[in-house]
């Protein structure tokens, strides 16, 4: 029970962090048709900027400043890069964001160095939120959940309750028609791209303290964010939310479980030992295959339900 509740909480908080990342990716994809390979790089920039800015003004002000900086960077990338590349089609856009990811990573290395920076948990978030039986749940994890939920709520309110949200929703599916009605769709694209990057930056501010702020941090979440977007359904925020939680929880449980096929077969009376063919496969523990599980899910999803959990477009 204790294991279950704590793993679930850890899984949900990790899932919510994934959602902060994948929501921006999904918004950008559904509106512009651009699969932004550099998305995780913006997450990393968020962490580094928050670290540097935080040294001067503290963690909590940096929590607001860093996403704004990353958002402006994203908007500039859209305005002066993507918009020009757009006319050469989606493949060119894809290659552009692919190159951009490396460019950002190398720039980060030049500015902050190759080693991890000492971006630490602020005192207010250090320590335990509560202790359940004998396991404690860190404050930082709770804060991560709080920020993600507040972000979800604000994005939802922005999309559903404001005029610009209405225009965004219209431009998501029918950009040409929205523009013919007099809405400045290119500017909306820039706002959405910048906004999506700002969300990634926000995730970085938190992910940076929760994990390690180093140049490889983009590469460590990048692929998983794509899995979330595909499994959830390209272009569906609700799908991204569901898939983030699913993958977050799945990952956390899988890492903690030492079950293996050999053990399970043993439990029902079938003995598996060194003499059994492929013994090394049978004795693999779930925790050992945990990193592969999301990609397995991705592959299965693409085969059996290519539009994802809640996706609306099949292409």
């Amino acid at each position: 029970m204790e294991f279950f509740v704590i793993s679930l909480l850890n899984g949900v908080s990790y899932g919510l962090l994934l959602f902060m990342l994948s929501s921006g990716l999904t918004l950008i994809f559904s509106m512009m048709g651009v699969l932004n390979f550099a998305h995780a790089a913006f997450y990393m920039v968020g962490a580094y900027v928050a670290y540097s800015v935080g040294l001067k003004i503290g963690f909590f002000p940096a929590l607001f400043v860093a996403p704004v900086v990353v958002g402006l960077l994203g908007a500039a990338v859209e305005r002066y890069g993507l918009r020009t590349v757009h006319r050469w089609g989606h493949v060119a856009e894809l290659l552009f964001t692919f190159g951009l990811a490396y460019l950002i990573e190398e720039t980060v290395k030049v500015i902050w160095g190759l080693a991890a920076v000492p971006y630490r948990v602020p005192a207010a978030l250090d320590g335990h939120l509560f202790t359940l039986y004998s396991t404690s749940f860190p404050k930082l994890r709770g804060f991560m959940m709080l920020v993600a939920l507040l972000m979800l709520l604000s994005v939802w309110l922005l999309l559903k309750r404001t005029r610009i949200g209405l225009v965004i929703q219209a431009a998501l599916t029918h950009p040409h028609m929205a523009e013919a009605l007099g809405h400045n769709v290119p500017r909306v694209f820039m706002l959405v791209f910048g906004g999506g990057c700002a969300l990634a930056g926000l995730a970085g501010v938190i992910g940076g303290v929760a994990f390690i702020t180093e140049p490889s941090m983009a590469a460590s979440v990048g692929p998983i964010v794509f899995v979330v977007a595909v499994v959830g359904g390209m272009g569906s925020l609700a799908g991204a939310f569901l898939a983030s939680l699913l993958i977050g929880v799945m990952q956390t449980f899988a890492i903690a479980l030492d079950w293996s096929l050999a053990g399970m077969l043993g439990a029902i009376g079938i003995s598996v030992n060194e003499a059994t063919p492929l013994y090394s496969l049978w004795k693999l523990q779930i925790s050992q295959v945990a990193p592969v599980l999301p990609y397995l899910l991705l592959v299965l999803m693409l085969i059996f339900r290519p539009k994802g959990l809640l996706g609306t477009r099949a292409d």
Binding site: L166, Q169, T173, E179, A180, L181, G182, H183, N184
Partner: protein, 231 residues
Amino acid sequence: MLEVRDLHAFYGKSHILHGVHMTVGDGEIVSLLGRNGVGRSTTIKAVMGMVECRGSVKFKGEEMVGLKAYQVAHKGLGYVPENRDIFPSLTVRQNLLLGQKGKLESERWGMEDMFALFPRLKERADNEAGVLSGGEQQMLTLCRTLMGDPSLVMIDEPTEGLAPKIVEQVARLFEEIRKRGVSILLVEQKLAIALDISERLYVMGHGHIVFEGKPRDVREDAAMRKEWLEV
């Protein structure tokens, strides 16, 4: 009001319009006729800034070629697409609000005017637009564009696939639009309607204008109709 001169338009490498000349006056209803594929829809899309084009489009004396579609819309040109391009997952009311260019309703048209003209839209105001019938969607696209208060509205094939009763309603709306001082450029397949409501007509063939005249001229010129219109 609208003066199109030597307009050429392109889709990728294919050259669709080969020098179109036409005008629409204040408060005038003008129809653009022709068989499928001669470039009627492309003409109004080009005026709207939605396809790559060359030449001159003067609206109220201002050059439109080179402007983006949203800028053209802000100058007072309205566009009603032929494929009933509503926003299907949004409600009827939200669709109408999106027609508005700012937060406020225009003086000429408001939400209540649309509901008075088409009570059906009022009944379905909070339904998703995607579940409306074809005729209702057509009314919605028309009303949505009017909410933006254009002084010239370009309408592409509004009666295609509609039941006769709804066609009548649409024709009544055209009268209402003209009464409020808005010009109409209509792309229409049904010759009877076009002759009935237009003051002048243009006929297109192979990417340019092949005939210009009043409804009477079209009725009298059987040879022209046979060559350019009848299937």
